[in-house]
Symmetry: C2
Subunit: 147 residues, 2 copies
Amino acid sequence: MEIPVNNDNIKLDNHLCFYIYVTSRAIQRMYMPRLKQLGLTYPQYLVLVALYDKQKLTVNELGRLLDLEYGTLSPMLKRMTDRGLISKVRSTEDERIVELTLLSEGKLKRQQALQLPQLLASNSGLTDEEWQQMVHLTEKMFKNISE
Amino acid sequence: MEIPVNNDNIKLDNHLCFYIYVTSRAIQRMYMPRLKQLGLTYPQYLVLVALYDKQKLTVNELGRLLDLEYGTLSPMLKRMTDRGLISKVRSTEDERIVELTLLSEGKLKRQQALQLPQLLASNSGLTDEEWQQMVHLTEKMFKNISE
DNA sequence: CACCATTAAATCGTGCACAATGTATAAATT
DNA sequence: AATTTATACATTGTGCACGATTTAATGGTG
């Protein structure tokens, strides 16, 4: 039983999944020094960005936004609550729901991280047009493969 | 002390790092069912791809290729050796160096995974031209930010 | 030869990330 | 009212991923 294949599938260099994978990790490594100063991990940074943008989210909404499971979010949000970055308040109407907001400490840290995207933009070596292309392509791809 | 900022930095949607991050994880999730059948994790799959492509690599060379540290590779390569996928042989000339090759079991699994890139290509919803752009852009970006 | 810096690889600790499982509440059905 | 079903969230276990430390082998240099 033959599997239809062209030679492009053999070379590591032709694996788009590979470049996306290593690029994602390279970005995290690049952000790490500044995030470390702020006492944040990369996913925690994204939580702050999301909450700063949306003001208020349930755990469920945050999970859909960042495409993360409860098993990942729960311990992370607990750590962030313990550090006074965010508040977790159980809804009075529906006690299953936990509502998340930024505390002032979390707002401050999010503001102190504002230059990170610019750091990436300048280090990436991409032109403005290429940057916009890449935002467009990754957004399109993500939306298609995550249904 | 004001930090120079434009509003693009506020919205989560404008974070390229965010889209790359979620896209990378979405690809891994998409590959997971088939990789699970093969008893492989995603990084292990990339190790097989790299070794199938290059025939023979030292741990150091593999780490530079996949941009992974010894602390990540060592336990993973041990697991793959235990399962008979790869062979780890210490070089006779320089005993610090460990040389890696694919065993037939590993070759087979790599061949059985050949359709994965095509799965991504068709699910991504990108045109051939967009796909090539994306390979080009991610490669350029990765090489610039990883020095 | 001895000394020191370098390098290859392994080990350890912390934090995601996900699957699988468990628990509790809410809504729908009987 | 009682039972089922679905949903929200927590817990557990495995496997990366990285930084930091450790061990061991190599390669100069005096």
